[in-house]
């Protein structure tokens, strides 16, 4: 599931263009981004506040089992890394 500040229609455009089947959530008020302390002030175009890239693997009890915070916006976890983390959850 992916979260960004993009409006639902922008996310839908990205989702359908890329053929992604997972859920895209729109946090245009930066509500959840703020609650998770992931707000990157003036990190977006025209000094807009956006989410910093971060990934959390949550189990059914709502507990974080794995997480990743990049130190560089150019660096993201690989799909294999995230799949390996997901396989640890039974």
């Amino acid at each position: 599931m992916a979260i960004s500040v993009d409006a639902p229609e922008d996310s839908e455009h990205l989702r359908s263009k890329q053929g992604y089947t997972f859920t895209f959530l729109s946090d245009s008020k930066r509500e959840v981004i703020r609650r998770y302390d992931l707000l990157h002030k003036a990190g977006g175009p025209d000094e807009s506040d956006i989410a910093r890239p971060a990934e959390f693997l949550i189990d059914q009890s709502g507990t974080v089992r794995w997480e990743n915070f990049t130190e560089d916006i150019r660096v993201r976890p690989r799909a294999q890394q995230m799949l390996a983390a997901a396989r640890t959850i039974r």
Binding site: A2, S4, P8, T23, S26, Y36, H40, A51, R52, V75
Partner: protein, 151 residues
Amino acid sequence: MTDSNTKRANSTLWIGLLVTVLAIASNFLYFFKFPAAPLPWINLTLPGIGLIFLLIGVVRAFSQPRIYRGKIWGSIASVVAALVVAGSALFFVGARKMPSSTGAPQVGQRVPDFMLLDSTGQSVTLTQLFAASPGAPPPKAVLLVFYRGYW
């Protein structure tokens, strides 16, 4: 006047130019299956090495003009390389300006539930994402990916 055919090729200039081109090309490695962690450092060191070679080449071209070529194109290539170094350094610093996120949920902690609109405009809660979809067992986990947006 020296016959230009007797001059030696200024090999350090060529090496410097090659390394600078590689430095620019290294930025595109992000799109390939290359381990991403060392990349920001490669992007910074390569143009630096290229610039050092170019500067040695230019100094040689100017101090021993009878032996080495490359006064004009060597100088131009050095200026371009210097700009690449400056641009890479600026981008390197900018790309690493991250909020500390010390208040973010840690491994072992419970995350707060939330409700947001999905891309079709429907309200969705985190809890709902754990619900079983028809004909499939409920997911054992959900991966929350926060991304910068503006794609």
